[in-house]
Amino acid sequence: MREYLLYVKVGREPVQAYVTPCFRVDQDYWQEQEGSQLYVIGRTPSLAMAFSLRERLNQYLQERQAIQGTVNEQALAGIRRIALTTVREASAVYGTTLSHENTEEKEWFAWSEAKSVKEENSTPIVTSGDKEQSVKDVLAGRALLWEEMERLLQTHGIAVPELPQLLQRMVLSGDAQWLPGVRLHVRKSWLRHSLQLACARCGSGKEKIELTTCHSCGQGCAYCTECLGMGRSKCCTPFLCVPAHTVPSSHAGQAGRLVWSGRYSRDQEVAADRARQFVSSHWRRNAEFLIWAVCGAGKTELLFPSVVAALEQGERVLIATPRKDVVLELAPRIQRVFPEARVIAVHGSSKEKWEECDIAIATTHQVMRFYQRFFLVVLDEVDAFPYHQNPVLYRAVARAVKTGGRLLYLSATPPRYLQKRLVTKQKSLLGRSSYALYSSSHVLLPGRYHGHALPVPQICTVSGLDKLLAAGRVITPLHDMLKASLDAGRQVFVFVPRVEEVPRMLGYLQAVLPEYRDGVAGVHASDPAREEKVMAFREKAVKLMVTTTILERGVTIPGSDVAVVGAQAPVFDEASLVQIAGRVGRSPDDPQGTVLFVQSYRASAPQAAVRQITQMNQLAKQLRDRRKMA
């Protein structure tokens, strides 16, 4: 069980409180640096408590500027009293928050005052310089929990007997930063004190954090359930952030060689160039940029110039995308285009996760393990699952950007708050506002790369939709549309809102379209045969695919149409309906197609989706006209 020591330093700077796992190192360090006086306050086994105390004491010391320069016994006693009351308060609040019916009064946080430290007969650390350097190199640019860090050092074959000492030295010299995995803080109020908790890794708040009695620290503890899949982030686990300092690439510049034979359309070229300018401009006006390109505009290709620009400066690039299958598909593609660069795929089970690289393709969750490592971070599909309604994740992900780096968002349907922040609106003479095509913080690409307009969905409202489906009655608009598409030899996606409705819909379709009985399949997220079914659909063995929103993005099937049955359901929001409509007409050989939204009552999301699509088409048309005039 580790113990953490709290002390105040009196020196040239204002008096400040510090936390350390090994006081000896701090003593030596401050002696070396400025010869300042250290006063020990006390010790606690709970890391989160120690940090909470440090915060409280610093606040107290700031209020009492009077104790500048010298600290007498009386002032120290005052500080100790503050510490003691803080711990007791936290204990009490923790106890009431945990609230088991029959828990006895208990000291949740141990705290022992100490006047001075007994010499722990430890010799000053004698870690050799190159070992220290190798630890620094391995950890540079990472944000890891203690266990992860130990494992990482182990895989690199670095064994450091006095790791805490070494790390504490790095912390003191400003090369690293450490925090408790879950921060704990008592918020005071005249009505009721409450416990504030926050996960240092994923930024989740109290609602995602569970209190627990922990046997590792023996103290009141809490862990984050949000990022549990990546290892437990607890109050007693140190979370270590080490920024990357030096430019890593020895072969700077060469990595940026682009081997790509494809060609941009005019609009793509302009958009890609704007993104490149954002990356390479030195007097930075803003650190964020949004590429808003409609479905099928060729977003990945748009990135190449920006990536080249970053690589030419000898910097590292990260492309983050929500799903693992996309990572696996994207990594070889990027490697082909940048043959000289070291490209790694970073996901939960990847082997090369910890390797050095020029370009990293990572899943969103893995991005949380990086700290100020990349100059350019590209966040793909910012409206999709892990980010969706989870703004804290943005902050966690933005941590991977180096100071002075660039963050590039990529989306077909950017969420409202990103739009507000980055997209400027323009007003026409008539007073109608529409999106500006570009600004210093965004670029909008309203047309597809083949230049055809996006298919506009048709909405039809069928009252009593569920009953008609259950009774197996023919719903004329849906039936006509499916029949027309299938007769023309096209494939159809049928989207339903819930997993349970997949088999029901399957049964219904087989009943009303008996001639296509065999070409029907259904798929949902936890379907074991998911891959095979999607494969069969790609190979046209399956003509009609009933699916939940899992196929809403990433799947491209030429010559397909889409029907959404139950478009009023809350799972289909504006963004997801636009994405679904974007499945249709992606290939240049077949740019048209039908999209049908069947809703059981009038809902706002389908309408909004249609509005967005028509707006994009209008903008694309304006752009074309303008080009023609020029």
Partner: protein
């Protein structure tokens, strides 16, 4: 997750009617020893949706009377010769354990859940496993049948690594549910490798010898005490037998020890 919703697939219970039907059918099948009404309440409060509840791999009525293993997994010839105990149990001459009962088959249905709880440390699942074991308790035993519950302990080193003892938390919940006290006097004295890293039955049984010690005194020194051991899974049974042996070594009167596991 803890606020309603299925622990296994994460969806909220959408089809209430269907779930009701599933709950009733389970309650009928499981209520041999307790009343239907009681069993209904126990099944009903499991945080599972209709689909997952229906697929729950509950061990059937035909089991080995020693270790609680289902006969369906045993092959036909054993069934025919009318044995009451399975082959593994017959090969053990002296058994410190009176018997074991498990609730579920250890298959894909529950493997991930247990892993999530034990290794990932999702302590919210303690509630679910507690409810499962309470159900198992009432299926096979009566609550007045035991003096106290004992959870299989972890080695202190493993405990500090993991941060919690998965069975202790579960045991506390059952203890509260059925009103039987818990004793924490059993300790693990020997550190053993993970089950998956050991090969073979013999190695496992050997490694478990003297792995536990009972540091407390017997509850009623003159009378045999009745103890229920709790563990997450019974594979070869060597862990639970070693625990029972450790308890027997201290006692003057041979106590009556059963064990209950989630998976068998």
């Amino acid at each position: 997750m803890s606020q309603g919703g299925c622990v296994r697939c994460g969806i909220r219970y959408a089809a209430k009617n269907r779930r009701e039907a599933v709950v009733r059918s389970w309650a009928v099948r499981l209520s041999s020893r307790t009343s239907y009404a009681h069993m209904y309440r126990l099944v009903e409060r499991l945080p599972l949706c209709a689909g997952c509840l229906e697929e729950m791999p509950v061990i059937g009525e035909k089991i080995c009377e020693q270790c609680g293993r289902s006969w369906e997994h045993q092959g036909q010839q054993l069934l025919e010769c009318g044995a009451l105990r399975c082959r593994d149990c017959r090969s053990i001459e002296e058994n410190a354990l009176r018997g074991n009962r498990g609730l579920l088959h250890y298959d894909d249905w529950g493997k991930d859940l247990l892993g999530l709880y034990k290794y990932r440390g999702d302590e919210r699942l303690a509630d679910f496993f507690g409810k499962l074991l309470t159900l198992a308790m009432y299926r096979y035993f009566r609550s007045g049948q035991f003096d106290y519950l004992v959870a299989v302990p972890l080695h202190p080193k493993r405990l500090s690594e993991r941060g919690f003892n998965q069975m202790e938390i579960v045991a506390e919940r059952i203890g509260r549910d059925i009103g039987v006290p818990i004793r924490k006097d059993l300790i693990r004295t020997k550190e053993t490798a993970k089950l998956s890293q050991q090969t073979g039955r013999e190695a496992r049984i050997l490694s478990m010898q003297d792995a536990f010690a009972w540091k407390g005194e017997a509850a009623k020194p003159k009378k045999p005490s009745r103890i229920l051991l709790l563990d997450d899974i019974y594979t070869t049974g060597s862990t639970l037998r070693a625990c029972a042996q450790a308890i027997h070594q201290v006692e003057t009167v041979k106590s009556y020890i059963w064990s209950l596991t989630i998976y068998r």
